[in-house]
């Protein structure tokens, strides 16, 4: 009997059509757009001016504060502009546009394929290096990794949890990464263990990726302290609280963080980026992105420079089919439709999903019949129908009492609702409004 988390969860069709496609390196685009806000926290401050020549891997925007991240040039070329550009948030935000000229890397970056196993740096130096490399959570949340590794005073990390779940349907980027970069991943995990000073790491992988499970299990034998655990398939197991529950049986208290119960969760993509930053001196300039969709000619996994326009990825995967209804950045459950395919790939883009017109429209909203399906599938134990009603009546202080801030917007309630109620829409707006109330109270 495989482990999984207990409360709620749904089983959307998996549709992992690109799972067998090896990662291909996408050719460099003519121009990249690098937004200054690719992470949670303060936007980075630009350090280059229009007309400057930059190298691949050069620091072009500096972290502005503790919760923020450095941003590096992902290509070599000339800075074309510093004007705000539309990104996947749907808004124009500050960005650096670079015209690509050749591929001239910073000389300090070690680009050889040699595996470097020995970890020579101390814990503090590792965290410093990770901060310098601008690494953020690559699972999609984009929380700066060095902040997560800096355990606050009075708390102690006991174990590292590595997230190889990839519970979003369609996405296969983490799956391919685990198959193709297993050794690097294992060393990355050991670096993270050293940074946190923990003896144990657990890698959680859903059982629909048996090849990744067996591959990493065989590798784990030669790396001490790492355990690879297959998990029963259930969405949203990739949520860090659900993953901790599934692997350890511990529950993160409402409003708390995983560190409150001694756990720190990192994505496999982040672990690989950590390996490259610490051992190879390579900042975060590229990531693996799945480009997929039912009608797409060649669903693929690409190694993409950050800032590449989404249109270039779609073109490489066979072009936009005629009957396209919408293009989503991320997976079908938590991803967000983009308002233009010229938006760039950012550090948090794990996939690009092309949805046919027939499936892209929302069904008309019906009437709540109190079937409580939303309550039974909510992995956080909330009552979505109640939050929806409170949202309609704008009773935001009551929404706070009903723990709306615990919602991680996994969308299970909206997915399951037989009346197609706009549950998550109202909850999401409620979170914004409750956030305002909380901030006001603090001030």
């Amino acid at each position: 009997m495989l482990k999984t988390f207990k409360k709620g969860g749904v089983h959307p069709p998996e549709n992992k059509i690109s799972a067998a496609q090896p990662v291909e390196v996408l050719p460099l685009p003519a121009k990249v757009i690098i937004p200054l806000s690719q992470h949670i926290g303060a936007p980075a401050e630009a350090m280059v001016a229009k007309g400057d020549r930059v190298k691949t891997g050069q620091l072009i925007a500096k972290s502005a504060g503790f919760v923020s991240a450095n941003i590096h040039s992902t290509v070599s070329g000339i800075v074309e502009s510093l004007e705000p550009v539309m990104d996947s948030s749907g808004y124009k935000r500050p960005a650096i546009t670079i015209n690509v000229e050749g591929d001239d890397w910073e000389p300090s970056v070690d680009r050889s394929p040699n595996l470097k196993k020995e970890i020579t740096l101390s814990a503090q130096d590792i965290i410093k290096k990770i901060a310098e490399a601008g690494i953020v959570g690559l699972g999609g949340a984009t929380f700066p990794t060095h902040v997560k590794l800096s355990v606050p005073a009075g708390k102690k990390a006991e174990m590292l949890v590595i997230n190889g779940v990839e519970c979003e349907p369609f996405l296969t980027s983490d799956h391919r990464l685990m198959l193709e970069k297993g050794h690097e991943l294992m060393i990355g995990i050991q670096i993270l263990m050293k940074a946190l000073n923990v003896p144990k790491a657990m890698v959680g992988i859903e059982a629909n990726k048996p090849d990744a499970v067996s591959h990493l299990q065989s590798l784990a034998k030669s790396y001490s302290g790492i355990e690879v655990q297959p998990l029963k398939v259930k969405y949203p197991q990739g949520g860090e609280k659900q993953l901790i529950k599934a692997l350890t049986g511990r529950e993160v208290p409402s409003g708390g963080l995983p560190i409150d119960i001694g756990a720190v969760v990192h994505n496999v993509g982040t672990a690989l980026a950590v390996y490259e930053a610490v051992q190879k001196n390579k900042p975060l300039v590229e990531r693996i992105v799945t480009v997929t969709g039912k009608n797409l000619a060649h669903p693929s996994n690409f190694l993409v420079r950050i800032g590449t326009p989404v249109s270039a990825l779609i073109a490489a995967a066979g072009g936009l089919p005629d009957d396209t209804g919408k293009v989503v950045s991320g997976g079908p459950m938590m991803g967000k439709a983009v308002s233009s395919i010229d938006v760039p790939v950012t550090k948090g883009t794990s996939g690009i999903l092309v949805i046919p017109a027939a499936e892209s429209k929302r069904k008309p909203e019906g009437v709540c019949i109190r079937c409580a399906k939303c309550v039974s599938v909510c992995p956080m134990g909330l009552e979505p129908y109640l939050l929806y009603r409170l949202g309609q009546r704008m009773q935001y202080s009551q929404m706070e009492v009903e723990r709306v801030l615990d919602c991680m917007e996994c969308g299970s309630c909206s997915f399951e609702c037989p009346a197609n109620l706009f549950l998550l829409d109202f909850i999401r707006l409620g979170k914004v409004e409750v956030g305002k109330i909380v901030r006001e109270r603090k001030n």
Binding site: M86, S339, S340, D425, L429
Partner: protein
């Protein structure tokens, strides 16, 4: 049989009298002393409870009016100067006449002027749409047209025009309560001086993009060209972040800026039609 009837009548009568006495005594003992003028003032107010004055409903305003020593800063936008004069007469306080105001929508991005590039398929509310993206056109400042302002208007004074897909304000009905100003997530609605005979001039755009970018996505966008600023004889126009703004208090309604604006983003309202220009007249004379 009759004794049962008389007893019950008697009992209920006694009970009624006793309870009435208790209620009366309690009501007298715990009476809340309130200034009787609050009721009088409240009776004069419009009773819409719109909150446009900044107080919780008309009674809240009446209470504030009675309690404040100087009521010149408080006003009822719906009742206007007339109501305030009556209130001042009752309270024996002084009020100044205020210029009547009206809500104006600072966006002219109809589908003819601004091409729609995205189809929105969610809850029909600007508040929700604006959490997801900046709008269905290339302009991220313009009207979303989903009618949050219409929904909050208590006076039925706004409707979405089916052709331009923009909110239109009914001059007769608008009371300048400001509910729509607060409801608009794009901050497009402004309360402006209504002007003599409703004549007013304003920049109908909120786009702070650079001229070229703004123009690319909307043919009536303010491009920040400074032409209006230069032509204005009264220094009523300021330009910040590529966007012009006309100060209604300084504007003398000469309409020079309207003629000068290359993108027609400055609107004139309630003016009589212009006389043809001198050269045009001459031309007309020649042709005729």
């Amino acid at each position: 049989m009759s004794s049962v009837l008389t007893t019950s009548i008697l009992m209920l009568t006694i009970l009624g009298v006793v309870l009435a006495v208790i209620l009366y005594v309690v009501a007298q003992k715990f009476k809340v002393e309130e200034d009787p003028r609050i009721d009088e003032v409240e009776a004069l107010l419009p009773g819409a409870n719109c909150g446009g004055c900044g107080y919780p409903g008309c009674r809240g305003l009446a209470d504030a009016l009675v309690k404040a020593d100087d009521i010149s800063a408080i006003s009822c936008p719906v009742g206007g100067n007339e109501t305030m004069r009556k209130v001042a007469a009752i309270l024996g306080k002084a009020v100044e006449d205020k210029d009547p105001q009206i809500a104006v929508v600072r966006c002219s991005g109809s589908p003819q002027n601004r091409t729609r590039v995205v189809e929105y398929n969610g809850i029909s509310s600007c508040k929700f749409a604006s959490t997801l993206y900046s709008g269905d056109t290339g302009c991220q400042f313009g009207c979303l047209g989903l009618g949050d302002c219409v929904a909050v208007c208590k006076f039925d004074a706004i409707y979405i025009d089916p052709v331009s897909l923009l909110p239109v304000i009914d001059e007769e009905k608008c009371t300048a309560c400001g509910a729509c100003v607060k409801a608009c997530p794009k901050l497009l609605i402004e309360l402006r001086k209504k002007g003599p005979k409703g004549k007013r001039i304003f920049v109908s755009c909120m786009n702070t993009d650079k001229g070229g970018v703004a123009r690319k996505y909307c043919s009536v966008a303010c491009i920040g060209c400074f032409k209006c600023v230069k032509v204005c004889p009264y220094e009523a126009i300021t330009l910040e972040n590529n966007l012009a703004y006309i100060d209604a208090n300084k504007c003398k309604l000469c309409r020079k800026c309207v003629e000068e604006c290359p993108t027609d983003s400055i609107l004139e309202v309630n003016f009589p039609p212009r006389k043809p220009k001198v050269e045009e007249q001459a031309q007309n004379a020649v042709t005729s």
